[in-house]
């Protein structure tokens, strides 16, 4: 696509179309499944149909005898491979040993039991059907509250109470505040299990070169370098002999911010058989075995004065962990606790988490990871408090917001909010919808017997993960910029974009900083053999941390460019502008390509300067960033059927400085879609025996385009002082702001019936029952 961009124009802030898109929408991108290696085998995994069972025996004979089957491995073969890692550490955390194939017991439906390796994927699949596993079925428990009850089946027999950890955090005089509170509102609020549903399922291809003793793993992942470090440890392969390559990734939403059994298993098989081996997760497996999100049961209490001042928040959080800890499983609910005061000044909080094992697939990070749950909780509670006090929901929020002059603000949970003007997006959203007019419209609708609702949420989030001391594996990010001899520019970033558009935004940053053509920049990522160590893409960190690393690398590079420029122009002072070094005195100048060429030919070097034109920067952020915003949703409930229709969706997000409004809009739209999914449709349901009832798109409803409202996306821009770009992050904002606004809106619609809370998803039947006078 020809670009109309000229060199002089500043690109930051412009809605430039994504560089990534042509290959994505023409089907010419390269995913793991597009890769073919000579002599490649295919693997198919035999999985448990039971949620809890002892494995009595496994008969692999028939499978092995199938022509084309190369090998069949069971748990015994891989028992010495290191466990699937849990990167989160909490005091007293119980960590079950998570073998890459089940040993003598299975813990959830989909638990890998054996693997069949064959010359093609069809034979592998047929072979899997021939593996006979004899199970002794055991009682299972799939609901975290039931798992805590006396006499519940033990997920892990060694821990009969099913408790993986307890976590406590408090600030202020909690007991006193609640004892003296003029009002206390209490509510049980759930955030149901969700299934991330990326378009591309997981995919792994492993190749071992015995001569070099070098293993390469291609995987659809968000974290190539961490994957390499951790899988190297699991397999006992020296880290420098393992290369991880992440080609195009068809969505992750946090579900690929992980290290899975299959990644190590394919590496192990490649080494064992000496042949490359590929495994492509089926959609069925994706539902059953890729992490799920959310899974909260929260008991909230909020204390306040009669004038609406929030004085205390108390939370008991029951987290459904599933059967094992994946990479961050137990850490996710702790993020909810960090975020529990939301945007409010309240300094008295008390939180208790109990992490519960269930016979289900593990939960872990899914878009927002802990923060949507927290926002949903506090924003529902604030609405309930407003109802209790007969105050307007917007007014109550405005009264309790941290004020612009109070930043940096020390939150009750120990965070330092960087910057904010929380009233601004709320007021803007109220203006856009003409709030007073809407309330008037609502009065009229009610008079006509229609259930119209107006709901809002004002959210804050923790982004740009994060300062290293606050993260399990380092929270910095790296970038390297190389100007090639021809003047073209290659960027290596440690983040691993998979839909966030950093190939575009990072090119914008380079184009502006170096005054070069946007199309002369290529951004490479996701290959540990060519990219310096990096942390990856998650937690809305790509641009705020990775982009900042790039920014600093570019500053170093500019200094070097100037040294070479000064040398070439034979002067001691040059300016660098629009891709040229110029001497103000003589008016002479040299182009970046000339400078780069000279730096590689190295006929002459500036004093104390190395040849070549490259700079690498590892940036450690001093803090998280804290985006915020306000969403307002207008709904109407069909009286006959209980169907909720979203009539208006207004999102005013403040993600700091906006580098590319098109990309920001895309992130908001996608995030809101997933928020609407949780609010109205999605629910990963396990039955009492641990069978996943929503195991296909036939039963698991993600919103289709026809089910989406028009999203009016607006912004305020409050720069973050944490990084020189002023950016905060926007990858998760839409999801975080959405669900409380939708639910608040529907509760508002039904408030004349005495409804004060509804749990998600707001299915038509649930609403209909409420309309019938039943309880939600």
């Amino acid at each position: 696509m020809a670009s109309v961009i000229t060199e002089q124009e500043k690109l930051i802030g412009k809605g430039i179309k994504r560089k990534e898109d042509p290959r994505l929408i023409t089907g010419t991108a390269t995913y793991v499944d597009d890769m073919q290696l000579p002599g490649m085998h295919h693997a198919c995994i035999v999985r448990s149909p039971y949620a809890a069972a002892n494995i009595k025996s496994i008969d692999i004979k028939a499978a092995l005898e199938t022509p084309g089957v190369v090998a069949v491995y069971t748990g015994a073969a891989v028992k010495d491979v290191g466990p699937v890692p849990c990167g989160a550490s909490l005091p007293g955390l119980r960590v079950p040993h998570h073998h890459i194939l089940a040993q003598d017991r299975v813990y959830f439906v989909g638990h890998p039991v054996a693997v069949v390796v064959a010359t093609d994927r069809y034979i592998a699949r047929d072979g899997a059907d021939l593996v006979e596993v004899d199970y002794d079925v055991l009682p299972a428990v799939a609901d975290p509250e039931k798992a805590l009850a006396d006499g519940a089946p033990a997920v892990h027999p060694q821990w009969p109470d099913n408790v993986a950890f307890n976590f406590h955090q408090e600030n202020g005089e909690v007991e006193k505040v609640f004892a003296e509170a003029e009002v206390v509102v209490k509510q049980r609020i759930t955030s149901q299990r969700l299934i991330p549903s990326s378009m591309e399922t997981r995919a792994v291809l492993a190749e071992y070169r015995s001569g070099e003793k070098a293993l390469t793993i291609y995987s659809s992942s968000q974290i190539p370098h961490l994957l390499r470090t951790l899988v190297a440890g699991m397999l006992g392969v020296p880290e420098h002999k393992l290369r991880v390559v992440v080609p195009e990734v068809g969505g992750g939403f946090g579900s690929k911010l992980n290290v899975y059994a299959e990644e190590a298993l394919m590496g192990w098989i490649a080494m064992k058989t000496g042949k490359p081996v590929k495994w492509i997760e089926s959609r069925r497996e994706n539902f059953l075995t890729t992490i799920h999100g959310r899974g909260h049961v929260d008991y909230y209490e909020i204390a306040a004065k009669k004038d609406g001042t929030i004085t205390g928040i108390r939370l008991k959080l029951i987290q459904d962990l599933g059967a094992y800890h994946q990479l961050l499983t137990p850490a996710i609910p702790t993020l909810s606790v960090l975020m529990m005061p939301g945007l409010y000044r309240c300094q008295t909080i008390c939180a208790d988490i109990v992490g519960v094992f269930t016979n289900c697939v593990p939960t872990d990070a899914y878009r927002g990871a802990g923060r949507p749950e927290a926002t949903h909780g506090i924003e529902r509670m604030v609405d309930m408090l407003a109802a209790e006090l007969k105050m307007d929901a917007a007014e109550l929020r405005l009264k309790n917001f941290i004020q612009p002059g109070e930043f940096p603000f020390a939150s009750a949970t120990g965070l330092t909010y960087d910057s904010g003007d929380y009233a601004k997006p709320l007021k803007k959203a109220l203006d856009i919808v003409n709030y007073m007019g809407l309330r008037e419209q609502q009065r009229k609708a009610r008079a006509e017997g229609r259930w119209m609702g107006i709901g809002m949420s004002t959210y804050g989030e923790i982004c740009a993960f994060g300062p290293s001391p606050a993260t399990p594996a380092g929270g910095w990010e790296s970038a390297s910029v190389r100007i090639e001899p021809s003047g073209k520019i290659t960027v290596h970033t440690g983040v691993s974009p998979h839909g966030q558009g950093e190939e575009t935004t990072f090119s914008q940053i380079v184009a502006d900083e170096l005054g070069v053509d946007f199309n002369d920049v290529v951004v490479l990522h996701g290959d540990t053999a060519i990219v310096q160590y990096g942390i990856g893409t998650f937690g809305s960190r790509g641009t705020a941390v990775g982009g900042t690393a790039l920014y600093f690398a570019l500053q170093e590079l500019k200094a070097k460019i100037k040294r070479f420029g000064a040398m070439l122009l034979d002067t001691d002072s040059v300016v660098y502008e629009e891709g040229r070094c110029a001497c103000r005195k003589t008016g002479n100048s040299v182009s970046l390509a000339e400078i780069a060429g000279a730096s590689y030919r190295a006929m002459k070097l500036p004093p104390g300067t190395e040849p070549g034109m490259m700079a690498t920067y590892f940036w450690e952020p001093p803090n998280f960033t804290f985006p915020f915003g306000a969403h307002i949703v207008v709904t109407e409930v069909d009286k006959e059927t209980g169907v909720v229709t979203i009539q208006r969706y207004v999102a005013v997000d403040d993600c700091g400085k906006i580098l590319n409004p098109l990309i920001v809009a895309g992130q908001v739209h996608g995030g809101v879609a997933q928020g609407i999914g949780q609010s109205l449709y999605e629910h990963g349901i396990y039955d009492d025996n641990g069978q996943l009832l929503t195991g296909e798109f036939m039963d698991y409803a993600i919103p289709k385009i026809t089910m989406m409202p028009w999203i009016e996306s607006e912004h305020t821009e409050t720069p973050s002082p944490v990084n020189p770009l002023g950016v905060k992050g926007v990858g998760e904002a839409g999801t975080i702001g959405c669900s409380p606004a939708v639910v608040n809106s529907v509760v508002d619609a039904l408030s004349p019936l005495g409804v004060r809370h509804l749990d998600m998803p707001l299915s038509p039947e649930k609403i209909w029952k409420v309309l019938q006078g039943g309880q939600a």
């Binding site: 059927t641 109205l680 036939m698 089910m707 039947e765």
Partner: protein, 281 residues
């Protein structure tokens, strides 16, 4: 999601297809929209697939002595977009337009849909209301059965082993007839939680003929005779629609309990009747 191995056969004539289907391990393949997903999940594992799409003459849509004759291999899209069907039997076009998504409608066929007899499929409601006739061919010849006889039970039809649906025949609507198909979508699959087809003849608001077909509510599509009788004897639509749930053992699943389904059936029946009445004017 990989099927068991199977042989793929492409007969070039109806007799050849019927001959191949005499093998109990063979299965007919039309649009593949129901069969292929089942095979990929290994819930179905026919040893032979007999692809009907090479059999000539099964996709035509024509008018013949007051009826529309629709070939079994006409796709949902063919039917939804056919000028003939839209003009002369709009109910069928409307039902077709409610099926799945564009991709499914481009591949799926009417013969495949009704032979499969999913209890939540859309066509059965319309065909019941239209009192359609379905032609079934076997090695011994062709017979015609009414829609009421055709749909026997959940996934069960009058089509015997080795037989094929070859044609669906529906009436050309007379003047003064109004029809409507109203469907409550299940948000995940897009299938009907309930779907009601109404076909009414009315003169200045007085209903002289009512045919109501229902899908999704119970194990099999059916004609709501009670509702029809009430309408024909002058009941108002709302009251008549309420009778749709009488004596029905409604389905229940994670998307809708039996109680809610029964309620929806009443609501959608009323919608369909009102819309059909409006169309009859």
């Amino acid at each position: 999601m990989i099927a068991h191995p199977f042989d793929y056969l492409t007969p070039k004539s109806l007799p050849e297809a019927l001959l191949l289907l005499a093998d109990p391990d063979a299965k007919a393949l039309a649009g593949g929209m129901s069969l292929i997903p089942m095979m990929k999940l290994r819930l179905a594992a026919p040893a032979k697939l007999v692809d009907l799409r090479g059999v000539p003459g099964l996709t035509s849509i024509s008018e013949e002595s007051g009826r529309l004759k629709i070939g079994a291999l006409a796709t949902h899209f063919d039917i939804e977009s056919s000028r003939l069907v839209r003009a002369k039997c709009p109910l069928l076009a409307m039902a077709a337009a409610h099926i799945g998504d564009v991709q499914v409608r481009n591949m799926g066929t009417i013969g495949g849909s009704i032979a499969h007899a999913d209890p939540a499929a859309d066509y059965p409601a319309a065909l019941q209301a239209l009192e359609a006739t379905i032609s079934i061919a076997g090695v011994g010849g062709t017979r015609a059965v009414s829609a009421a006889e055709f749909f026997v039970d959940t996934f069960t039809t009058a089509v015997g082993p080795g037989e094929l649906v070859v044609e669906v025949s529906v009436p050309v609507e007379a003047a003064g007839t109004g029809t409507s198909y109203q469907k409550c979508l299940q948000p995940a699959s897009g299938f009907a939680i309930v779907g009601v087809a109404a076909r009414l003849q009315a003169v200045s608001g007085n209903i002289s003929m009512a045919r109501i077909g229902v899908t999704g509510l119970s194990g099999c599509s059916f004609r709501a005779n009670g509702v029809e009788a009430l309408l024909e004897s002058g009941s108002d639509p709302q009251a008549a629609a309420a009778a749709i749930a009488n004596g029905i053992d409604a389905n229940s699943d994670i998307h809708a309990s039996a109680e809610y389904r029964l309620h929806l059936a009443r609501v959608y029946a009323a919608k369909a009747i009102r819309a059909a009445l409006a169309a009859a004017r």
